[in-house]
């Protein structure tokens, strides 16, 4: 009995050399198949990302025709109804344009191209007031208060910073209580950085908090959220590209605070600066 047990335990070592070589060959083959499958998955992911980027650029052409056509109809002043319809088309086109921009940004980030920064010197509170004005028009039921202390000037990408502010304000207005104002505060007292906070009444559901800066938050998102679920992810990447940070303070009592910290001078901008996108001559 004991002898039989020893025999069974030692059996693998007694396999003929040919079978051992077969097993090694099978293992090598399996590893090669796995490597090829991984390479194929990487290629597939890369193609998907390139496709998303190309699609984003291609969609801008028909969108440009829609936007120009609707603007033209509005300029004709044909009738109040036509103006109203043109206005609705423009609003939808703007929303579509933002989604296309996000898709292109996301693709650039995923493919490692990074976000280009066109640095100019400006005051953060100026951009905050512009963003607040635009958000105010879209959400007249809310109040937005902007205040600043110290020197709010620095060298950043104005359009990108405006993109962050627009996103933070949209979030605050969508999720915040309309009974309390959304407060934008800019603190420029430190010599090396400027800090901007966007604060609203109301808190996020605890299950949403870990996903806040994740891309494509999909079904886990708050049902009031519209769009692709990329805004906060891209906003944080823009802050990072400036050498800064974007964080959320969700632990406070009945308040939600997003904090954007930007160094006054970007040390390592990602990629060459782009020419202005839509500047007047």
């Amino acid at each position: 009995m004991g002898s039989a047990n020893r025999h069974e335990m030692r059996a693998p070592n007694r396999e003929p050399p040919g079978r051992h070589r077969d097993a090694e060959a099978a293992l090598r083959e399996a590893r090669a198949r796995e490597k090829e499958a991984r390479a194929e998955a990487d290629r597939s992911a890369r193609y998907n990302e390139l496709f998303a980027g190309m699609l984003g650029h291609e969609l801008r052409n028909p969108l440009s025709a829609i936007t120009t056509g609707a603007s033209y109809i509005a300029r004709l002043n044909a009738s109040a109804k036509a103006d109203k319809a043109a206005g609705r088309i423009l609003l939808s086109a703007q929303r579509l344009g933002r989604m296309i921009d996000q898709l292109i940004d996301f693709t650039r980030l995923r493919t490692g191209d990074g976000l280009d920064l066109a640095l100019t010197r400006f005051a953060l509170d100026d951009v905050a007031r512009e963003a607040a004005h635009a958000a105010d028009a879209a959400h007249p039921e809310h109040t937005i208060v902007v205040d600043a202390i110290g020197d709010a000037a620095g060298s950043w990408d104005r359009e990108r910073v405006a993109q962050i502010l627009s996103n933070l304000l949209d979030n605050a207005l969508q999720h915040g209580s309309p009974n309390a104002p959304v407060c934008v505060h800019i603190d420029g007292r430190a010599p090396e950085r400027v800090v901007l906070t966007v604060e609203n009444a109301g808190t996020l559901a605890s299950e949403l908090r870990p996903l806040l800066f994740e891309p494509f938050r999909g079904n886990e998102r708050d049902p009031r959220t519209r769009g692709l679920g990329l805004g906060l992810y891209i906003s944080r990447e823009i802050a990072t590209a400036h050498g800064g940070a974007l964080d959320a303070d969700l632990g406070g009592a009945a308040r939600t605070i997003f904090r954007l910290t930007l160094p006054r001078n970007v040390v390592r901008p990602h990629g060459p600066p782009l020419p202005p996108l839509a500047a007047a001559p």
Partner: protein, 123 residues
């Protein structure tokens, strides 16, 4: 300029170069409504031939970048190399500003019509 002079004055010509028909035709309607003469081209080769054939220098060229046969970047380079064309103001209208040549006004699609009209009037 009097009203009569204004009527008799030759209209300023805007050349629109874009392979997207809906964009070309919509911009034609817009600029004609604004009192400009409009010439259209669907690619870079036709655009250069058109500009060289015009009696008067165009007021401005609105140039797409990604087009068949010859892209907008090559058109711009050829215009800058041609003494007859190099002084014509160019506005780049593109879905991908990262491809645009440096030193030229760029408008990312979708273009804001008010900004475009303002830029053309100032060109």
């Amino acid at each position: 300029m009097t009203a009569v002079d204004s009527v008799l004055a030759p209209r300023r010509t805007v050349v629109i170069v874009d392979d997207e028909e809906t964009i070309r035709e919509t911009l034609r309607d817009v600029f004609e409504e604004e009192g400009y003469a409009v010439e259209l081209a669907t690619n870079g080769v036709d655009a250069l031939a058109l500009m060289r054939a015009l009696d008067e220098r165009p007021h401005v060229v609105i140039l797409d970048l990604i087009m068949p046969r010859m892209d907008g970047g090559a058109v711009y380079a050829e215009m800058k190399a041609d003494p007859a064309l190099r002084e014509i103001p160019v506005l780049i209208s593109t879905s991908d500003p990262s491809r645009a040549p440096s030193g030229v006004l760029i408008m990312r699609k979708p273009v804001d019509l008010a900004v475009l009209l303002d830029a053309v009037s100032r060109a």
